[in-house]
Symmetry: C2
Subunit: 203 residues, 2 copies
């Protein structure tokens, strides 16, 4: 038996618990019963705050999506050469991803079984397309190498960035700082690991 | 009711079915009953070929692990400057990953609940360490930029490579060829997306 505690939740703090459980069990594998147990309050108390688990999912992925799209409106993403704008977007995407790690993790894991999940996937694709557009503009400016397919590069770039949800954990007092990770991603992706005067493979 | 078909499986062809189901349902979520239904043969027929589902897992992840470790013994990984050896290993890792996609997907998803899973994770870490060693050697040669942490670069590099299991699908008659993907990964990671004479961010 779970001892029910007094409901001191707000929709926001309840969301924190829900996102943790969604990430642990998967959204499909999470029932209202699981949420009730994890929060230590009754299901009817949860329904007092939200209409159901899909509303919690919508609020959670909205937070991640809003954070990502806000980047595109920043001055660094709006002004300057396309290559510098796309570097800004990649750097800030890493920062948003790390800052809102559980929310972005959830966003990256939704699989499209409900209307909310399909909407989230659609928005995510839209964000990817916006970044791909910037990469194409940078290639058209002659600032990106011409021997790399832009769409493939976009996939690989997001593959590198999104992998953070699998292995990056903020370590208080140790590990990598978010800005170091963001800067390293940008350096690898745009300038490469080799020193400028290092040997080049015959390729 | 499933209509049981005559058991024409070999351990190898049974493995193909098992790996597909493990990837669809997760290893933990797969029962012998699921395997029996997917293969269309009885559970006792399966036990005729293998001792149980853990043996199928061991065979499957061994195939992926053997494929990856074999790369390290290739001449391209043994001779030449460290930076060229690590480029060879990364290029070949992509090729092995794509060639044995379902097997490597399974390897990357095991989570350590059984002895076999823990062994697979240990071997995977060992492979990562071998590549990290090569990157460190290349950095010591002065061939890799000094302002990037080697351990962080290794994580990001594998993040990019391993993301392939999430989004790459071989398209007969379309899409990206495996060699193009492998070459693009190496170009991005080592030379970067920018043209050599493109502008550099102030950062």
């Amino acid at each position: 038996m779970t001892t029910a505690k007094r409901d001191t939740y707000t929709p926001e703090t309840l969301l924190t618990v829900a996102v943790r459980i969604f990430n642990e069990r998967g959204y499909d594998g999470t029932s209202m019963e699981h949420l009730s147990q994890a929060a230590g309050i009754s299901k009817s108390s949860i329904y007092h705050h939200v209409a159901g688990k899909e509303e919690l999912l919508r609020r959670a992925v909205s937070r991640a999506i809003d954070g990502l799209f806000a980047i595109l409106d920043e001055p660094g993403a709006q002004r300057g050469r396309a290559v510098e704008r796309v570097e800004h977007v990649v750097r800030r995407t890493v920062q948003v991803l790390v800052t809102d790690l559980p929310y972005v993790t959830l966003l990256l894991r939704v699989r499209g079984n409900t209307k909310t999940e399909r909407w989230a996937m659609e928005r995510r694709r839209e964000f990817d397309h916006r970044v791909a557009d910037l990469l194409r503009a940078a290639a058209a400016d002659g600032d990106l190498r011409a021997d790399v397919d832009t769409r493939l590069a976009t996939r690989l770039l997001f593959g590198m960035v999104n992998s953070l949800v699998e292995w990056y954990r903020p370590h208080p007092g140790g590990g990598w700082e978010v800005d170091q990770v963001a800067e390293t991603v940008v350096r690898i992706a745009f300038d490469g690991l080799r020193t400028a005067d290092g040997p080049r493979a015959a390729g």
